[in-house]
């Protein structure tokens, strides 16, 4: 009896009943012999989206690789909360080198495995949005361009949370961070052009690119499982709410992540060899207000008078995504 009996709670129409599925379709986490690659006892905050995303991603990768896995970690929350030595939560070979070089270190590990005839050992690099979209961007692009045999996973919580919530290039417009204060005539982060790293990854033509969210863990597991056997560079960008940095309730992590998806602000899609393949459809599109109002980082938008102009700009971004990524069935 490997499969744990799952208690099934139905919340509206969004929960997929795990116990209703065939065993082979069930979540990796439903299996009592899951690897617990990132095991309990680590020091992530309550409601940490990154810890949740990493646990699901790495366990799925372990299953897909028959436990022949090594991981490279960029500096950041995930690294700090998982390895305050002598405690380590990692049950897999794991190395942390620097903030900006996880992709390159992983390229090196993959090269070593290849030259040593151990190609069954699969390599994952992982980092937050700062380590991926900002400081590690050069190494990431280099890894993509060479098509090195690495799956890179970005856990995007939309700011430098480990150093105290400073803005990154993944921080959304209007969001309050420690370096984009909610003061002045245009409080919060600027409305720039944004930096969509999944699309940039696609521009490299690498075999597989996907976005995922902790709101949809089965979809996340599916994408990791799909990415693992592919040789060459693969990129998965996972949206992971940060209660501390976003000012959301720890209990609302999944809800907030789901609203990001359902509003169209965080589209879930897959691409292969640079071509868009499909997107996960939105079942009930919600206005961005529902997502924004749960987070203190956007509280200034809803102070009196409500900043309807800039909320409309954010809504326009969501609407554009819905169209661009064909998010409505």
């Amino acid at each position: 009896m490997e499969m744990q009996p799952i208690k099934f709670y139905q919340t509206a129409t969004f929960t997929v009943g795990n116990r209703l599925l065939g065993e082979h379709e069930r979540s990796v986490q439903a299996n009592m012999r899951r690897t617990n690659s990132l095991n309990s006892g680590h020091r992530a905050c309550q409601g940490c989206g990154e810890a949740l995303g990493a646990r699901y991603a790495i366990d799925a990768a372990m299953r897909a690789s028959s436990s022949q896995l090594a991981a490279v970690n960029a500096t950041g929350c995930l690294e700090v909360f998982s390895t305050p030595y002598p405690e380590t939560s990692w049950q897999i070979p794991w190395i942390h080198s620097l903030f900006g070089n996880a992709a390159a270190v992983a390229s090196g590990v993959a090269a070593a495995m290849r030259v040593k005839g151990r190609e069954e050992v699969r390599v994952i690099a992982q980092g937050g949005d700062g380590g991926t979209t900002d400081i590690g961007f050069g190494c990431l692009s280099g890894m993509f361009e060479r098509n090195d045999d690495v799956l890179y996973i970005c856990y995007d919580n939309e700011a430098y949370m480990n150093t105290g919530v400073q803005r990154s290039s993944a921080t959304p417009p209007a969001a309050r961070t420690a370096t984009t204060a909610a003061v002045g005539p245009a409080p919060g982060n600027v409305f720039g052009t944004g930096k969509n790293v999944p699309l940039i990854a696609m521009a490299h033509g690498i075999p597989y690119v996907a976005t995922a969210s902790v709101a949809n863990l089965r979809d996340l597991e599916f994408k990791v499982t799909k990415a693992m056997p592919i040789r060459g560079s693969r990129y998965i960008h996972i949206h992971v709410p940060c209660p501390l940095g976003w000012g959301s309730a720890p209990a609302d992590t999944i809800k907030v992540a789901r609203l990001a998806v359902e509003s169209g602000l965080f589209p879930l899609f897959e691409a292969e060899h640079g071509e868009f393949v499909n997107s996960t459809k939105i079942r009930r599109k919600v206005p961005v207000d529902e997502y924004l109002c749960l987070q203190k980082r956007f509280a200034h938008l809803f102070a009196k008078p409500v900043d309807s102009t800039r909320i409309a700009l954010i809504q326009a971004i969501a609407d554009h995504n819905v169209k661009r990524f064909e998010l409505l069935g």
Binding site: S67, Q68, L69, A70, V72, N73, E79, V80, T83, P84, Y85, T88, W90, Q91, I92, P93, W94, I95, H96, S97, L98, G100, N101, A104, V105, A106, S107, G108, V109, A110, A111, A112, M113, R114, V115, K116, V121, G138, C139, S141, G142, E145, R146
Partner: protein, 417 residues
């Protein structure tokens, strides 16, 4: 096998004989010919079982090297100058993680002003990064030190930089004895890593270490270098047995037995210094020289033994510790603690300025008379400096210094005419 070849090609051949498994390359003058040579050898299959990776920056080069070494592969890269600075964070990291990577530095100046010629500013900037630093005097030694470097790195689990003077050695054609594969195989056993990423035995590498243990970890890095002080001479002896020639070691003395004046330097300039020593010996001077091969670890005891009976020590530095003087002098003075003698620091050859026999001859004559300043800049154009200082004093908006100096100097062609 004896060959008339370029320094870089000789180094590339030596590296190939060491059977590296992963080589990362990013081009920077004057290191390029080394990695070009290796890339070709991997492509033709002459260097088998080796991954050659063209990366997008020096930071990536060292990072790929870190990953490869941590996964248990014998790993090599090369860089110079700005490239070494660009990879600086990863250079420290490789040493902190105790990864036995070997890296060639084709020594070159650091800008601004940008300059591609030889001095030691680049490797000196990383002197405290935790890497062992060996300086080659000749092309033969450059080649031989790389073979020793892998032994040293892997026995200690510590990265090693082999510093080779840019252009002066890297681009010079010279006769070298390239070791045979069997010789190197007999000297350099296969790499058995102390730590490796392996699903069969999962370990976490690179954890955060707080005040409770950081001092001890750093001390052990120092201790590793102190052990290298004992290991380097042993590797030299063993090298002599296998290859029939001495190369490397902590330092080498040249005609120092009864010397009142001893000149100390790193790298290729020692050849010129030894010629001047011969000239001055012929004129009756009691002068000798010491070539320091191992700058990190610094051989304090060996230097004290070599220099302690002299009346004065002249340290020729191809780098400038701005606001202080020289880097090599620090170690030399520390080695002579408690001994009373005159010590002189001479900054020479910055940015490729030729260090000529005649200049050294005059310099050493002045030293013998104890007529040197504490810090001397060899062949500094004092008129040019005075001109620029006066010009800058005239107006607040005097513009960029280097460009003003160049305008004053004029074109190289005009100087030849």
């Amino acid at each position: 096998m004896l060959k008339q070849t370029e320094g870089s090609h000789a180094v590339a051949e030596a590296i190939a004989r060491c059977r590296p498994e992963v080589i990362c390359a990013y081009p920077i003058t004057p290191q390029t010919h080394i990695v070009e040579g290796l890339g070709e050898m991997v492509k033709t299959g002459e260097l088998a079982n080796c991954e050659f990776i063209n990366v997008e920056s020096e930071f990536a080069a060292m990072s790929v090297a870190i990953g490869a070494s941590a996964a248990g592969a014998r790993t090599y890269t090369a860089t110079a100058s700005q490239g070494l600075l660009f990879m600086a964070e990863a250079v420290y990291n490789a040493a902190g993680l105790g990864l036995p990577i070997v890296m060639t530095i084709g020594n070159r100046a650091i800008g601004a002003p940008i300059n591609i010629w030889n001095d030691h500013s680049d490797s000196m900037s990383m002197r405290d990064a935790g890497w062992i630093q060996l300086y080659a005097e000749t092309n033969q030694e450059a080649l031989d030190l790389h073979v020793q470097a892998f032994r040293l790195a892997e026995e200690l689990s510590c990265p090693v930089m082999v510093c080779v003077d840019g252009f002066i050695l890297t681009h010079a054609y010279d006769r070298v004895d390239v070791p045979e594969q069997e010789q190197v195989d007999a000297y350099l056993p296969p790499f058995v890593p102390r730590q490796a990423l392996d699903p069969a035995q999962p370990v976490s590498i690179g954890a955060m270490v707080g005040p409770e243990a950081f001092m001890e970890v750093r001390y052990l890095a120092h201790h590793k270098q102190l052990r290298a002080l004992g290991l380097i001479p042993r590797l030299l002896d063993e090298f002599k047995l296998h290859f029939g020639r001495p190369s490397g070691g902590l330092l080498r003395t040249y005609r120092t037995e009864d010397a009142d004046t001893i000149v100390v330097a790193l790298g290729s300039v020692n050849g010129t210094i030894q010629e001047v020593v011969d000239e001055m010996r012929a004129e009756g001077s009691r002068i000798g020289s010491v070539s320091i091969c191992s700058f990190r670890p610094f051989p304090l005891d060996a230097a004290r033994e070599a220099l302690g009976r002299a009346k004065r020590v002249v340290v020729i530095e191809k780098s400038l510790a701005v606001g202080l003087g020289g880097h090599l002098s620090d170690g030399v003075r520390k080695s002579l603690s408690g001994i009373v003698l005159n010590g002189y620091t001479v900054i020479a050859g910055l940015g490729g300025r030729p260090i000529t026999r005649s200049s050294l001859h005059q310099l050493f004559r002045d030293a013998e008379q104890d007529e040197l300043e504490q810090v001397t800049f060899l062949d500094l154009n004092a008129d040019l400096v005075a001109y620029e200082l006066a010009r800058e004093a005239q107006a607040r908006t005097s513009g960029p210094t280097a460009e003003a100096i160049l305008r004053r100097v004029g074109t190289v062609a005009s100087q030849i005419a």
